[in-house]
């Protein structure tokens, strides 16, 4: 009797325990921790837009100017002598350090953009979507942007970590270029031509943009044949031509125009969303001024225009104190600096936070000059001249006729300087072509060979990742 009772008690308890089992832990509803599960649906295109958006950071309005132009012989720091612009005085004087905030800002900016591009690609690849063509295009856009940012990084810092491999160990420059080429070669077939895009997509990366950047990437690696061929693909695509009026390229009417291959987009109307104060930082400073007066064209650049008799490009590039601009704006003769960057000027800008100015990253004239330079290096001087003179003729300069390779090389380099002045390429052209030591020392700047060819890895990065190596000389 008792034994039975016990067994019943036991059995009841035992059964009570075995019911339910694993389901118990699933009774509690847990909030979804990942974005994919958050309930809100994000389309891949939104993250792709986020990659473009990274290029509207303030770094492009200020730090970028310091490490691309002010550091070179084309521009001075400008502004008031007391306003250093954080470290712009040091960059101008070629005395920048490992702690220069401008270098740190661009290093971070470029890497974070690469990160966004990688994330957007991953998201797009796995997202359920019916339009495969759109998927390919979006991935192609991201790959171009990733390649562009790696290109900016590699020409500034040399060996750099490839983010998808390791963020500490620096990959050799050749590996970085190989990765850039791979991205671009994959992007080209996926991207439409400029003319194939819907109007509302104006400003997106095009096949031509990817090809042009690839031509430039080849040029930096002295892969002359590939560079010439790739440039030719763009030139013969029928998508682009030179804007007959050189100055119009930087006007509102020239934005995304005939000559535009790729530019960063800005919007000045409310809700304003520009490349922040890109126009303001370079606007005239002082009476009637609207800006901070940084990044002013140097006297050296002015002289270069004058020596060449290149009035059209000089006047389109430089705002002179006391001048009346094309749109009727009168520049007071008493502004703080004698010259300002006209290519950053926007008629609509009166010093707002977000301006409408687009930054021209690649335009057709540069593609012609890339081809000219590459052909000349391939000893095809006469073919080179065709492209070079096409650029010169637009601004009423006479044809170059020399077929002496080294003479022509100098001419093309000088042509690049004048044509692309204040377009964020001069410093890297000086380094790429090996002119930097001579030019900068002649310019009165303490260029140290073996050091200044590369920017230092920012100190803050080395604090975070002490095992990363610093560049030579720094």
């Amino acid at each position: 009797m008792k034994a039975k009772l016990k067994l019943i008690v036991f059995a009841l308890l035992f059964v009570a325990f075995f019911t339910g089992c694993d389901d118990f832990v699933e009774e509690v509803e847990v909030v979804a921790p990942t974005a994919e599960e958050s309930g809100e649906v994000f389309e891949p295109i939104q993250f792709v837009t986020g990659v473009y958006g990274r290029h509207t950071d303030f770094a492009y309005a200020f730090s970028f100017l310091g490490i691309t132009e002010m550091i070179s012989d084309n521009a001075d720091k400008g502004s008031a002598p007391t306003d250093t612009g954080a470290d712009k005085n040091l960059l101008d004087g070629l005395t920048h350090t490992t702690s220069s905030p401008s270098i740190r800002a661009m290093w971070t900016q470029w890497y974070k953009t690469i990160g966004r591009a990688t994330q957007a690609i991953e998201y797009t690849e796995t997202f359920e979507m019916t339009n495969e063509e759109l998927r390919e295009r979006l991935i192609g856009e991201c790959k171009f942007l990733r390649a562009l940012n790696y290109f900016w990084l590699v020409r500034s810092f040399g060996d750099i970590p490839l983010q998808h491999i390791d963020i500490i160990n620096r990959a050799p420059t050749s590996d970085v270029y190989a990765y850039i080429e791979q991205d671009l070669l994959e992007a080209i077939p996926a991207l439409p031509f400029k003319s194939e895009y819907a109007a509302s997509d104006l400003g997106r990366v095009t096949k031509g943009a990817a090809q042009s950047l690839l031509a430039k990437v080849y040029l930096y690696q002295k892969k002359w044949q590939e560079s010439a061929d790739m440039a030719n693909t763009v030139i013969t695509s029928g998508e682009y031509d030179l804007e007959p009026d050189y100055a119009k390229v930087w006007r509102v009417s020239g934005e995304n125009g005939l000559e535009s291959v790729f530019e960063l987009q800005g919007r000045g109307e409310i809700v304003a969303h520009g490349i922040q104060q890109y126009s303001t930082t370079q606007g005239a400073r002082g009476p009637s001024g609207w800006g901070w007066g940084f990044n002013t064209p140097s006297e050296d650049l002015l002289n270069a225009f004058n020596v060449e008799g290149d009035d059209i490009r000089r006047d389109a590039t430089i705002i002179f104190a006391g001048e009346t601009l094309f749109d009727g704006r009168v520049i007071d003769a008493g502004v703080e600096n004698p010259r300002y960057n006209e290519k950053a000027y926007s008629s609509a800008n009166a010093g707002q936070g977000d301006g409408d100015k687009n930054i021209r990253i690649i335009r057709f004239a540069e593609v012609l000059l890339i081809r000219a330079e590459a052909l000349n290096e391939l000893n095809l001087s006469s073919d080179a001249l065709t492209n070079l003179n096409r650029v010169r003729n637009r601004v009423n300069l006479e044809n170059i006729t020399t077929t002496n390779q080294s003479e022509l090389r100098q001419i093309i380099w000088n042509e690049r300087r004048l044509e692309l002045a204040m377009e964020h390429d001069r410093w890297f052209d000086l380094l790429r072509t090996g002119q930097a030591p001579a030019v900068m020392i002649a310019h009165g700047k303490p260029f140290e060979t073996g050091k200044h060819e590369l920017f230092p890895i920012p100190n803050d990065q080395l604090i975070q990742t002490p095992k990363m190596m610093q560049n030579p000389g720094w």
Partner: protein, 1036 residues
């Protein structure tokens, strides 16, 4: 699947027992103690089974046995005996006091094990060790007594000590050990009265702790409370009263020293000078600190009849801290009953514990303010207002009064420490109801089923009254009530008045939670020939972590305490606010199985498996994980070649491996960043440049799971020389294999924010040694000496490249002191290395220096020789966690007199004097700082001058070694006086001496225990205190 295999096991057990039926022998007998008095309540058990009985009031017993059975006689505190049944029918057993701890029965979680059979690092602490050191929680009492368990004391009223078992193994997950009281998981160990505790077991080693699966990674602490013993009722009354003060008071500079220091500093930075003669010379610590006191009264009744054992107790513990009105009191009521039914084959145990506390916290920031406030500031001004740090900068007199054209500033930004304490008016009341019912059913002689249900309900109510008007008026003695009233007028007519001008505010906060646990397990014990087998299978289910908080705040309530009520206010200018929060609870489902086998008490083999599932994780549908463990032991002393040894009485080696989890990990939620405006997720497309909204991933979300810790251990138990010398040596190597770290947003990384990821390993290795010597000198004098020593080496390893680098230890002045780095201890000190003092400007000009360096400032080493001093010149300087701990206890018993001394020490750690380091101009300094300061070129190269920088550097890092006498006790016991059975009177000095070179108040700087924060940094720490206690234990 699992169900089937469990059922199968049961069937196997049942059939086993059926075959086993032989001739029965009825044994009757009597048990006496060594004084030949009958001993009731002795447990008598047939070895290898659950079959047993207890002796009755006259010490008599009877039990059915089979020839060849072995009877085990056990009684707490007495030597366990084993008697083999041959042909006898009666037995006379004499039980003598236990001098051999090896026969102890140890609680190991879902069962017990004989100490000799234990094959892992399990340490048991018994009631005597706990009650000897009066404290709020038992853990504080056993600081320094358990090797490998680092208990960091906190002497604030109501504080719980921090317990670190075998090193700190996690950066982001919970650091608390898992507490189990009588099988019931317990949230807050403060709810248990130390006097109710029979024993505490520390399951240090993973092979034992792993039976608690995903909550065992920080160690498991099992608490067993007292039960009644068969026999007549025993009434006990224990009481003590004590006073306490600061053990290690730091001498601050007096008024004259302060003035000189201030003026030297001021001269260096072109500030104003203080006049020599000032009105006040306040010693802020004298004003702030009072004599604290503690007091506890404990009553208990216990006993047992034929079918019921009972234990009742009531305890009231009261403490007032060294800050005025900083009080804590706790009452506990406990009732543990066991009912023995069906000839003791069915037992019900019921535990009820009710704890209520009442707490009035005071701001420990006032210790910080007392350190910093100038001695020239009075406690009160002559107008009755509290003194503030006003100084007339024109005259250099410390006062708020000024003539026209004179300017009044402040010496320091700090308030009046005394008023800080007075104005804080917080009341916290908590009630914890804990109850558990357990049944044990002997299904057969070998098989027992145990079922338990336990539940805890917790309530807390917190009231904070803030006298805003009093505070406002006292912040500046020139303020008038009229000015305050003017602030209460709605001048701009917008219907709102700043709450800055409310008379007061009342904040009421209610917290409530409920948890329950339900578990059942089968235990099968069997011995045959020399084989002995014990098996446990079971499952458990728990719900915990749910918590509701309701908080309401109102302004302008009545000042009188009994009228403070949010719905009865003196004005209705201000709105009441209510906040409610609810935390989802966690469901936990577990299965476990354990097999213990030994052959001839020589070879031990043990395997444990636990499977845990928690509702906390969502990723991968995989809620469950397995936690296996095994251990082996070899009792060498039971081998024939040692059996006869008179030198070696006991020698056992053991080793094991186990896997533990820590599910208390942070929840990871991904943020997708979007912006409705001009954020950099958005971009412009199209001919009209339309703004297109985009998105970007904020911090990536890595799927977080429990952290898994794996541990190997090896050990040796020994007893030599007639068991006079005994001890344990153990080595452990434990690794948190997937530690979660806060991955920094590195400049060149993909992510745009910090994120959490399983990206590192944290390893802890160490050696633990416990040695005990006990002997007697003649008949009347016995003594024992116990020493324990343990080491710990903590390292962060195998970090995903670039994922380390989280900094921490913020001093709240922009300076950080710690960094998580591969190859270093968890959050090691990371500081500039101070190297002397700049003697003159010439030195500064010709060497790398920080900006604004001046003669008298500290100079720092340019570690990377790049000519600038920056973060890359910071170096690692060890950690705040001691690398070794040691304890010593000496006990002497002479006739009725007992005397004991306990000591505890740590070493190998560095601690940071944040009080001195973060000094701002105008703050007070210690006398030592004053005396040692640099006063001009050539004066000293060791200490900076009055004008210095406030950078975090190795200069402020000090050796954290200390040795402290924890306890000196002298007691005298009267036996059988009057109606009393026993009466013991004692005096105790707690923490009477501390030996340390540390210049602050206490080297025990645990703070909130978070290694990434101010742990190890003295900023607002409660000082270590010293107590003198008188107490009495009565028994009738």
């Amino acid at each position: 699947m699992k169900i089937k295999s469990a059922l199968l096991l049961i069937i196997v057990f049942l059939t086993q027992t059926i075959v086993y039926a032989q001739d029965n022998v009825l044994i009757t007998g009597k048990v006496n103690d060594s004084d030949e008095l009958p001993l009731p309540g002795v447990n008598i058990l047939i070895k290898g089974t659950n079959k047993g009985t207890q002796s009755d009031f006259e010490g008599n017993f009877s039990i059915e046995t089979i020839k060849g059975d072995i009877l085990i006689f056990s009684y707490i505190g007495l030597e366990t005996q084993e008697i083999s049944i041959q042909n006898q029918n009666t037995l006379e057993v004499t039980m003598s006091p236990n001098t051999d701890s090896l026969n102890e029965i140890i609680v190991v979680g879902y069962g017990t094990q004989k100490k000799t059979a234990i094959t892992g690092a399990v340490v048991s602490v018994s009631t005597e060790d706990i009650v000897k050191q009066p404290a709020l929680t038992a853990l504080q009492s056993i600081q320094g007594k358990v090797a490998g368990v680092n208990i960091i004391a906190n002497d604030a009223p109501g504080a719980t000590p921090t317990v670190i078992v075998r090193g700190l193994g996690t950066a982001q997950a919970g650091r608390e050990p898992f507490y189990v009281v009588d099988g019931q998981p317990t949230q807050d160990i403060r709810s248990i009265n130390p006097s109710d505790i029979e024993s505490i077991e520390f399951l240090k080693g993973a092979s034992y702790a792993n039976i608690y699966g995903i909550r065992a990674a920080n160690g498991v602490i099992l608490v067993t409370t007292k039960k009644g013993k068969k026999g007549k009722a025993i009434f006990s009354f224990d009481s003590f009263y004590g006073i306490r003060n600061v053990l290690n008071q730091v001498e601050m500079a007096n008024a004259d020293q302060y003035i000189q220091y201030f003026n030297e500093e001021s001269a260096a930075v072109d500030g104003f000078q203080l006049q020599q003669n000032q009105q006040f010379n306040t010693d802020w610590y004298d004003e702030l600190i009072q004599l604290g006191n503690i007091n506890s009264n404990n009553f208990s009744v216990s006993g047992g009849g034929e079918t019921i054992d009972y234990f009742f107790s009531y305890n009231l513990y009261q403490e007032e801290g060294i800050l005025k009105d900083n009080e804590y009191s706790r009452g506990t009521i406990r009732n543990n009953n066991t009912y023995h039914l069906f000839e003791n084959k069915f037992r019900i145990t019921q535990n009820i514990n009710i704890t209520y506390t009442n707490e009035a916290p005071k701001p420990f920031g006032s210790f910080n303010n007392a350190y910093r406030q100038s001695p020239l500031v009075p406690v009160f001004y002559s107008n009755g207002r509290f003194g503030q740090s006003f100084v007339n900068q024109s005259t250099g007199i410390v006062t708020f009064e000024s003539e026209d054209g004179e300017s009044v500033g402040r010496l320091t930004p700090h308030g009046n420490p005394v008023s800080d304490v007075l104005f804080q008016d917080i009341d916290i009341n908590t009630t914890t109801l804990q109850g558990q019912i357990a049944t044990e059913t002997d299904i057969t002689n070998d098989l027992t089923f145990t079922a338990r249900f336990g539940a805890t309900q917790f309530y807390s109510k917190r009231n904070e009254y803030n006298p805003i008007r009093e505070r406002w008026l006292n912040a500046d003695p020139r303020r008038t009530i009229a000015e305050f009233e003017a602030g209460r007028v709605d001048e701009d007519g917008d219907g709102t008045i700043s709450t800055e001008f409310a008379n007061n505010s009342l904040n009421v906060q209610d917290v409530e939670f409920f948890r329950w646990n339900l578990e059942g397990f089968l235990t099968f014990n069997k011995s045959f020939n020399k084989h002995s087998l014990s098996t446990t299978v079971g499952l458990s289910r728990e719900k915990f972590g749910g918590r509701e908080l309701v908080e309401a705040q109102g302004f302008d309530v009545f000042e009188e305490k009994r009228l403070r009520n949010l719905s009865r206010r003196t004005s209705s200018f201000f709105d009441n606010t209510v906040v409610q929060q609810f935390n989802q609870s966690t469901n936990l489902q577990s299965y476990f199985a354990r097999v213990e086998y030994d052959f001839a008490d020589k070879y031990f083999l043990r395997g444990v498996w636990r499977r845990d599932g928690t509702s906390d994780f969502v990723t991968g549908e995989n809620f469950f994980d397995n936690f296996p463990a095994f251990s082996l032991g070899w009792n060498i002393s039971n081998e024939n070649f040692l059996k006869e040894s008179t030198f070696i009485n006991h020698l056992k080696v053991f080793g094991g491996w186990g896997r533990l989890g820590n599910a208390n990990v942070p929840f990871n939620v991904q943020q997708i960043d979007t912006d409705p405006d001009s954020g950099n997720q958005n971009y412009v497309f199209g001919p009209t440049q339309s703004l297109i909204f985009g998105a970007s991933f904020g911090s990536p979300v890595e799927p977080l799971q429990w952290e898994i810790t794996e541990e190997w251990e090896l050990g040796l138990d020994f007893a030599f020389l007639n068991r006079k010398l005994s001890g344990t040596v153990a080595y452990y190597d434990r690794t948190n294999t997937n530690a979660i770290i806060n991955v920094q947003n590195i400049l060149n990384s993909e992510s745009e924010g910090n994120f959490l990821a399983h990206a590192a390993e944290v390893s802890n290795t160490g050696i633990e040694v416990l040695i005990n010597w006990q002997d007697n000198l003649g008949k009347d004098l016995t003594y024992n000496i116990g020493v324990n020593f343990s080491t710990n080496k903590n390292r962060v390893e195998n970090v995903v490249p670039g994922f380390d680098g989280e900094t921490g230890g913020s001093l709240n002045n922009g300076q950080i002191t710690k960094r998580l780095q591969e190859g270093q201890p968890l959050f090691a000190w990371w500081l500039l290395e101070a190297d002397g003092v700049w003697q003159n400007q010439d030195e500064i000009d010709n060497n790398p220096s920080v900006g604004n360096a001046a003669p008298g400032h500290l100079r720092y080493v340019d570690q990377n020789a790049d000519g600038v001093i920056d973060d890359r010149d910071k170096k690692f300087f060890g950690n705040y966690v001691p690398t070794f701990n040691y304890g010593i206890k000496i006990g002497i018993q002479y006739k009725q007199l007992d005397f004991s001394v306990d000591g505890f020490g740590v070493g190998g750690n560095e601690i940071y004097n944040g009080l001195a380091s973060t000094r701002l101009g105008g703050e007070n300094i210690t006398e030592e700082t004053f005396n040692s300061r640099w006063t001009g070129e050539g004066s000293t190269n060791a200490a900076p001058g009055a004008d210095r920088d406030a950078l975090a550097s190795s200069y402020w890092l000090e050796n954290g070694d200390f040795f402290r006498i924890n306890n000196i006790t002298l007691g005298y016991t009267f036996n059988k006086i009057g109606f009393l059975n026993k009466a013991r009177f004692y005096v105790t000095a707690q923490n009477p001496f501390m030996f340390t070179n540390y210049s602050g108040f206490t080297p025990e700087l645990n703070q909130n225990g978070n290694p990434a924060q101010t742990t190890g940094i003295e900023l607002s720490a409660y000082p270590t205190t010293r107590s003198f206690i008188f107490g009495v234990n009565l028994q009738l």
